[in-house]
Symmetry: C2
Subunit: 586 residues, 2 copies
């Protein structure tokens, strides 16, 4: 901090902003870009540091309030609580505290063009200067990690359901519709989807660092080519893809011809690349259409995902059976149970790895929605209280994400009420029938209502899009309270995961993945519904039936019948018996 | 149309846009600005005409699909159905149809700065030229009406609950917070609220054409001063208000000093005034804070509004009693019943006029959410079917807006189901308990769910803000499906008015006004609720009880007990007896 402040003085910077990002605006970061963790010790996936000479703060959202408060102890950084997740609320703070003619700086590689322009517009109107080209961290960070070099590969069309050629065709139709010459892509999952490539540059997300420039007759993939086996390079080339070096992307943008019209997503492109484009090029700002294409799963992806849910459900069943039979007899900790769960998943065909770090949170740790056990915090399970397990797998055949809470014994009435209301919300969301064109905030409100009715609520969103063997969080749609103006469409996969957190006591979250399906074309319009994909029992020993209507009880019983039916063929007789009890009608 | 196209050719304009607006971005327009009606015959409150040499269209929303289709017959204008209310969807159409180097033009007086800038950004990126200073209509419109000259007056603080001085203080604190020198106001209801003035320049909205420029030590009201009696001019002057001519506003903006920082709402300021500001002035774009101040009613306004609801409820009771006793005996038409309703309202103290044109819609006319009977359409009531009456009053003590549907006899099962589901939605919305910070789209979703459950829906919003003796539609909050990112706050008054429309058959809408109130500070945060303000029975003869849960029935019975209790003191014995029957528990 002292060194950083020294550098700030030297460069005449009054406020320095360090976001949690990389040049691709990723959520999960390669080690090289874990700047917030390096500077402050905070390891959450979302947070921004702002440093002035007399203040240093971390702006993060309610998922991380408790974790941040702990990790920032003695770091010199204060926790500043965001009112709205991901909102750049520190900008208003800068407006308040900085005098005219101050200088705010950040590294334009780690800041989206949209955010940088917002900062500039807001601050420069008040005569505060903004410099978007200042990387102070590289000067301070000894042995800053290099860019990753993990192997990469091409996925077969039998897995993806759509060839690169067909995807490029779709993209080019859009480029023509927008009367433009080309589209530049920075988002790693969009790139992975478009080129049917996967890798492991980033933990849990099977993506590869790269950029794409797609013109009407060329498709250039800027990437470390050495990551691919030569036959995959040939396959890409056969699909009309030109491979170029990762660092060439910037050069290519800087050399675009006069009068060229380039489509770019200012929220998914870093400011420094955005600024590289010559002024004589006309930049048309548009959401990456690949974000939308990717979110709407095709029939092959859906088929694979359904099959993947069976594999994941078998692993989850074995895991919970093992847990129930072992807890109280052998020592189990949060860390060891996460390892055990990984083992069960790894036994399944096509398993690649976890889709995110397992959240195995016992007792009061459950109240931290994004808890990750460390050797220091690691709890030993007792035969009492609630255990929350939020986990997921990356399979070559799909991505899973599931949360269950199970009783280890000695449950209080309040825990039962809380659990049942969360379950009720999950069922309300899952059974919703809604008009085509509805937004995620509508699903969110309906899911929360059973909790609101009892003056309860949760600080995170209700659900996120999930990739097909891609990122466990993907857009453009989301189920949360924010005004995200994106319709929910047939073929989208989303989580529904209401929760409830009593700090210092326990946390509850129940999460299934659902697929949006056509429901009915009625007199009043076309209606959609959800098909639940996740296949794993829900602990009914925690249910207070009096709080549920018959429609909730019916749903639960039908869901359990389906879970049993689908998983049974893959379970031993012993496991079948155990699951039959767990899925018995209530 | 031919003349207009001729002028377009002459001015080398390929597409001309005529919005429904005035220089204040009003919804209800002075005659002079009813350009859409003059050009096309369409009289709805929202719609945009776009004319090219080979196409002429009216873009409007679902409230007006049926009405527009009728009114545009033989006009040469095609109806283009908006997907999203108020969205400038014609811009995408322009992008599709216009070749490069085309010219799009509009009158900058009738187009907000925000919309004009959106048009320019989208079209100029594609080499389509935009001219925002072309008023073709004045050249074609013989005897175009002059600006209105209706008398105006100052409201007493005992009515408004806050002096002009106090309001200006609040505004100046905000100007300072934004580090600015002044705020310019174009919105007529904001102006009326800030200066505690009312008038009748516009039908149904008690506003006066004017602009305001508020600096840290001056408050200039640009207005036709002759509208005020001299004592009111003195009162304004005593409150520190300088009066200047209406036309001086433009001059004042053009003469702002170099380095001046001006706050303006680009959505509530017309493009031509916005463009008048010298480039050396720094314009900071912000929502008018007065829109927010005005939406949060103070204790005096709330008190007056509650009392006004009693007066309005008495008028409504007398009206429906008269209707029931007269229909089938004497001829009643849609127009005559609206006149009768106005008479009952006019008997009430402090009544000023209607808050909008009464929608008295019998039978299939009810399916037009914004129907207004004309001598041609005017239906004679029969003792059968459904009658929808949506009406409201302007009182010096508040503004009302209420919709009821009553049975005139011979009701079908489907009508009963439809009515009950609308009522269920209304009750779900009215009884919602929700966290502070919630948005209108959340209330909207919860209100619609009972209809969605039965594959029904309605094409309009669930509710709008309502002024205090001001516009019946006011922002910034709204209850609808759109991503309007404005929290609902304690003190806001909003309508809850779900509906259901079967074209060619009938329409149903049930509307109450509700006040947002603090509910409880709970462990999981602060919760808000609604207090229902409107006092008028709901026709229970149309209810199918089997579709309601006990919570809905309890609400209805309690509401009816309250309506009876509150209105009883002001009714004759005869009326009391009648209302007792109408409000009997079910």
């Amino acid at each position: 901090m002292t060194a950083l402040r020294g550098l700030m003085k030297q460069h005449q910077i009054d406020a320095y902003v360090i976001p949690s990002s990389d040049p691709h605006m990723s959520e999960y970061l390669p080690e090289r870009y874990r700047c917030v963790a390096w500077a402050s010790g905070f390891t959450g996936s979302a947070g921004t540091l702002v440093i002035t000479q007399d203040f240093a703060g971390l702006w993060t959202d309610s998922r991380y309030f408790v974790q941040a408060a702990e990790q920032l102890k003695d770091s010199g950084y204060q926790l500043v609580k965001l009112k709205v997740q991901h909102a750049p609320e520190y900008v208003d703070w800068l407006v308040e505290v900085l005098p005219a003619n101050s200088v705010v700086a950040f590294d334009g590689q780690l800041t989206s063009a949209w955010l940088a322009k917002t900062l500039i517009a807001k601050l420069e109107a008040l005569s505060i200067n903004v410099r978007g080209d200042v990387d102070l961290l590289s000067l301070l960070w000894n042995n800053r990690p290099e860019l990753p070099k993990a192997p990469a590969y091409v996925l077969d069309d039998s897995l993806t359901g759509e060839s690169v050629i067909a995807k490029l065709d779709r993209l080019r139709i859009w480029i023509r519709q927008k009367r433009s010459d080309a589209h530049f892509i920075s988002a790693l999952d969009d790139l992975a989807w478009l080129f049917n490539i996967r890798g492991s540059d980033v933990p849990c997300n099977p993506v590869i660092l790269g950029f794409g420039l797609i013109t009407l007759n060329e498709a250039i993939l800027y990437i470390d080519q050495g990551k691919f086996p030569s036959e995959d390079r040939s396959r890409l080339s056969a699909a009309g893809v030109t491979l170029a070096d990762y660092t060439e992307a910037e050069v290519a943008l800087s050399q675009l011809a006069d009068g060229f019209t380039l489509l770019m997503d200012p929220k998914r492109t870093c400011f420094s690349l955005y600024s590289t484009v010559p002024a004589t090029v006309s930049v048309v700002e548009q959401l990456n259409p690949t974000t939308h294409f990717k979110a709407v799963k095709n029939a092959v992806e859906i088929q694979h995902t359904r099959a993947t849910m069976v594999k994941d459900g078998v692993a989850m069943t074995r895991f919970f059976k093992w847990l129930e039979e072992t807890v109280g007899k052998e020592p189990i900790t949060e860390i060891s149970l996460a390892e055990q769960l990984l083992k069960f998943r790894a036994e399944q065909a096509d398993f690649v790895g976890e889709s995110f770090d397992t959240i195995a949170a016992y007792g009061f740790h459950g109240a931290l929605p994004h808890y990750k056990a460390t050797p220091e915090s690691n709890s030993l399970l007792q035969p009492e209280g609630l255990l929350l397990v939020d986990s997921g797998g990356q399979y070559r055949t799909g991505t899973t994400d599931i949360t269950r809470v199970v009783s280890l014994g000695n449950i209080t009435d309040e825990q039962r009420v809380d659990y049942t209301l969360v379950l009720k919300g999950m069922i309300e969301g899952s059974t919703l029938i809604f008009p085509r064109g509805s937004r995620g905030y509508q699903v969110d409100a309906i899911t929360r209502k059973p909790l609101w009715d009892h003056l309860r609520n949760y600080g995170h969103g209700t659900g996120h899009g999930v990739g097909f063997f891609l990122n466990v969080h993907e857009g453009p749609h989301v189920f949360n309270t924010a005004a995200v103006d994106v319709p929910i469409e047939t073929g989208m996969i989303t989580s529904i995961e209401p929760g409830l957190y009593r700090e210092g006591a326990y946390g509850i979250r129940i999460e299934n993945l659902v697929l949006t399906v056509d429901h009915q074309n009625a007199f009043f319009g076309s209606f959609l519904a959800f098909e639940t994909l996740t296949l794993c029992y829900i602990d009914t020993s925690l249910v207070n039936k009096a709080l549920l209507d018959s429609k909730h009880i019916n749903w639960l019983n039908q869901y359990h019948a389906m879970v049993y039916e689908q998983l049974k063929p893959y379970l031993t007789e012993n496991e079948q018996e155990w699951l039959a009890k767990k899925t018995a009608a209530i």
